[in-house]
């Protein structure tokens, strides 16, 4: 693969008007947790920045006090991306907020094509209250369905506004409109940053079953494991699908028996990617480590342990 760990990860945030994209971007900027995010806004909505976060404004770019930045790209994604790639230093992660009617695949494809970028994921938002109407809308229905079906993960937002029966209807509807796409229920676009943008590996791994802290602990679960044993690549690849099916996100450094190099593995929803690491040293060199996040009601940590042990 041409992409490696030095490529800038890109997350495309998709969703029709009013689904909460702006709220999500604001939430992620506020809870960036040390990551230097750069957000390109491809919408005609207000720049989604709370005033108290703004440190300075230069032209179309707003710099935030936590190292993040937000940039209005107007109608010109090409030049906005060229500018981001020319920045020094580059941000840790690029978020592209697509317009309400944009095809997220067309944006994601740029990250797939450009060697200095890599696609992290397509996140879509659906408004639990209106998604059924939007999918049936004669003018934008197909656009909305395509956005949802093309995603790695759908955040079903504003779930607090619908009752239990409607909740069921919404999830059924999405499983038809976006078959196989993993969904998360959210309120005010609230989602942990590792869930939204991918996991950052902890410095000191150890086998832990850790409940997520804060407001999300009732929904998500985190699992991690490690081993000094080198893995057989074929075994690992065939079991990865099983791990991924229980988790929403998985990330790890893996050492295979047939290679000296560290490999980075990452899965989001149902999609897995491998990258060969360009960094010569990781903390705990030679030690395979995996971390995953999933929904409490979907993920069974002891089952994951079992799957992982089969590889050893």
């Amino acid at each position: 693969m041409q992409h490696d760990t030095s490529s800038l990860p890109v997350t495309v945030i998709s969703g029709y008007l009013g689904t909460g994209k702006t709220t999500l971007v604001n939430h992620l900027l506020r809870n960036a947790g040390g990551r230097r995010l750069m957000v390109l806004v491809n919408d005609f909505g207000e720049l989604p920045i709370d005033l108290d976060l703004i440190e300075s404004v230069e032209g179309d770019t707003i710099n935030l006090s936590n190292g993040c930045a937000c940039c209005s790209m107007g109608g010109d994604l090409f030049n906005a991306l060229v500018d981001v790639l020319d920045r020094s230093p580059r941000p840790d992660h690029l978020l592209i907020e697509a317009s309400g009617v944009a095809d997220p695949v067309r944006i994601a494809n740029i990250a797939r094509a450009e060697p200095d970028l890599k696609l992290e994921s397509i996140l879509s938002l659906a408004d639990a209250k209106t998604v059924a109407d939007m999918i049936d809308d004669p003018l934008v229905g197909k656009t909305v369905s395509h956005q949802l079906a093309a995603s790695d993960i759908i955040l079903i937002n504003k779930m607090d506004l619908v009752g239990t029966i409607n909740r069921r209807q919404v999830t059924d509807l999405l499983s038809r409109a976006a078959p196989g796409v993993r969904t998360i229920e959210t309120v005010f676009s609230g989602v942990p940053i590792d869930m939204a943008l991918g996991i950052q590996l902890p410095e000191n791994p150890g086998k832990i079953i850790e409940e997520m802290t804060g407001t999300h602990s009732d929904i998500y679960l985190k699992w991690s494991t490690s081993t000094e044993t080198r893995l057989n690549r074929d075994d690992f690849e065939s079991l990865l699908g099983k791990l991924a099916s229980q988790t929403l996100r998985l990330k790890g450094i893996v050492y295979f028996s047939n290679s000296e190099d560290a490999h980075i593995v990452q899965s989001v929803g149902n999609r897995c990617v491998f990258e060969r690491s360009t960094e010569s040293s990781f903390p705990g060199l030679g030690k395979t480590r995996l971390v995953a996040i999933g929904l409490k009601n979907e993920m069974d940590c002891s089952a994951l342990d079992g799957i992982f042990r089969q590889m050893l």
Binding site: F44, R106, A113, K142, T143
Partner: protein, 542 residues
């Protein structure tokens, strides 16, 4: 100030009170009087200028939908199927075989410094009698220089092996739009922005700067001058202060031969910001730089299958096109712009997009009635008569893309929308029959700039293969001349200053070698343009 009286063989004024004249008196850049020598001499001491004694003078043509890129593209090598004239007046014959393309490129390669990429534009393989060219064809031109051949639709490029290398494309690439040959390696053809991005970035191919540089704006003025255009509207721009400063500087030069209108892209910022920017820009207008209008892009284009069509959709079964703005957002945006009395140019091609724009316009003007809004639907190619009736009721103007009949008409009948709907594209007759103010345009560089060609297309409705498409939509020559002068001037809100030769208006003229009202209608596009005058200053084609 001194008075100059220009004598002509004939002056076609477009003013029904005095349709023909022989003399026009000019003072301070404005028309002082129109008539014969005796009538125009009544203003007093003057100088008689007989430069045009054997020429036809018309009002300077108004091209109300084109792009500054029409000047900038000539930085690159033209390899299109149709003849084009560059800003310096060189005729670039259309290429009809791959051998011609390669020969032209080989010649350019020899003249180019070794470290520069060779970039060509306007390529249209469907017209070439040869199987679709691939990387190896261009490797023959150069194996060590990057070669990029941009297709005429700007959505596809074909590149040589060296260029594939710099983007890292190989047999292992799984990128959408990187086409592969039978041997499993990329064949050089790259579809859509994503696949083209790594190459454009690395070779510095940037259409925005191509349309913004001083060279581009200057070349654009020359392109206009060659075809008799004295007022041109650049239909999409992200205007910042710096850009306005530069445009003021360039257009302010007496040697710059046109009045330039440029429309702010309404989709680059929020609607309230668009209002503020448009009003601020408007205040910076000069006699030669007209600002304050905005452009809203609703759907895509028919030939790229990105226009939004109503049932039954595309003739070849292609999926419906794309919205560039959600219909409900179009509604609220048009509403706010209308409330603030901003001039709006709304791009619509497909009939579903036209409905959406009509709904938005109706909603907006019902909420904030505005007597003279001149909202103009740009392209508006698939409008049917029911839609023209609504446009009339709502006071909407149309600027139809008549050149499409010639350049794309055959494909529209065979592939995109089928023969029946193709027969009614760019329905000039329907517009006039329903009393909808009409202009026609080239959208240069999409098709070559040339108002007489646009008029020719509207009069004859002839396709590239020589068929007449939708004869009932033909208009007559005087209607077509109106659609390249006063018609577009009206859509730009400039019909009080340009578009006809009348006392009090700017002395902007197109100087022609023949009389368009008496030539064979099929020869309309071949009338030779001698040059123009702008504010009484003569700009002979260099």
């Amino acid at each position: 100030m001194p008075i100059t009286i220009f004598q002509a063989k004939k002056i076609i004024t477009m003013d029904p009170a005095r349709p023909d004249a022989t003399h026009v008196a000019v003072q301070d850049g404005k028309i002082l009087g129109v008539g014969n020598l005796e009538e125009t001499s009544g203003w007093g001491a003057h100088q008689l200028d007989t430069t045009f004694a054997d020429k036809i003078i018309m009002p300077g043509f108004v091209e109300a939908h084109c792009h500054l890129l029409a000047g900038g593209m000539w930085k690159y090598l033209y390899v299109g199927f149709h003849d084009r004239v560059d800003p310096d007046g060189n005729l670039w014959k259309g290429v009809s075989s791959i051998e011609d393309v390669l020969e032209r490129m080989t010649q350019a390669d020899a003249e180019l410094p070794p470290d520069q990429p060779l970039i060509a534009w306007g390529f249209d393989p469907i017209f070439l009698k040869h199987q679709r060219p691939v990387k190896t064809d261009f490797d023959g031109v150069s194996s060590h220089r990057s070669i990029v051949v941009m297709h005429s639709n700007f959505h596809v490029m074909t590149v040589n092996s060296k260029t594939l290398e710099i983007a890292g494309y190989s047999a292992q690439s799984t990128v959408d739009g990187v086409l592969k040959g039978e041997d499993g390696t990329p064949n050089g053809e790259l579809l859509e922005m994503a696949a083209m991005f790594p190459i454009m970035r690395r070779l510095g191919i940037d259409f925005r700067s191509l349309g913004r540089s001083r060279e581009a704006v200057t070349a654009f003025g020359q392109v206009c001058n060659r075809v008799g255009v004295t007022t041109a509207a650049d239909l999409l721009n992200d205007l910042d202060d710096e850009n306005v400063d530069e445009l003021q500087g360039i257009t302010g030069n007496e040697a710059y031969p046109i009045r330039l209108a440029t429309m702010l892209n309404a989709l680059s910022q929020t609607a309230p910001e668009t209002v503020a920017l448009a009003l601020a820009a408007k205040a910076r207008s000069t006699d030669k730089l007209r600002l304050g209008g905005v452009k809203l892009v609703t759907d895509g284009s028919i030939q790229a299958f990105t226009a939004r069509l109503r049932w039954p959709g595309y003739f070849n079964g292609a999926a419906n096109g794309i919205w560039n703005i959600a219909p409900e957002q179009l509604k609220t945006t048009v509403d706010l712009l209308n409330e603030n009395k901003i001039a709006m140019h709304i791009h619509v091609n497909g009939d579903e997009a036209i409905d959406a724009a009509l709904d938005a316009t109706e909603y907006a003007i019902a909420r904030h009635p505005r007597a003279d809004h001149r909202i103009t639907f740009q392209h508006c190619q698939m409008a049917d008569r029911a839609q023209f009736r609504r446009m009339k009721k709502l006071g909407v103007c149309v600027n139809l893309f008549s050149n499409h009949i010639y350049y794309f008409g055959d494909q529209h009948a065979a592939i995109t929308i089928g023969p029946d709907r193709a027969a009614r594209i760019d329905a000039c007759r329907s517009a006039l029959d329903h009393g909808v103010p009409l202009a026609v345009h080239s959208d240069a560089p999409v098709t070559p700039m040339g108002p007489l060609t646009c008029a020719w297309a509207a009069v004859n409705r002839m396709t590239g293969s020589g068929k007449v498409m939708g004869k009932n939509e033909c208009i007559n020559i005087s209607e077509a001349l109106h659609a390249i002068t006063l018609g577009p001037a009206y859509t730009l809100g400039m019909d009080g200053q340009v578009g006809s030769i009348e006392t009090g208006k700017w002395a902007d003229f197109a100087i022609l070698e023949d009389d368009p009202t008496t030539v064979n209608p099929l020869d309309l596009k071949d009338i030779v343009v001698w040059g123009t005058a702008l504010g009484g200053i003569i700009h002979k084609i260099a």
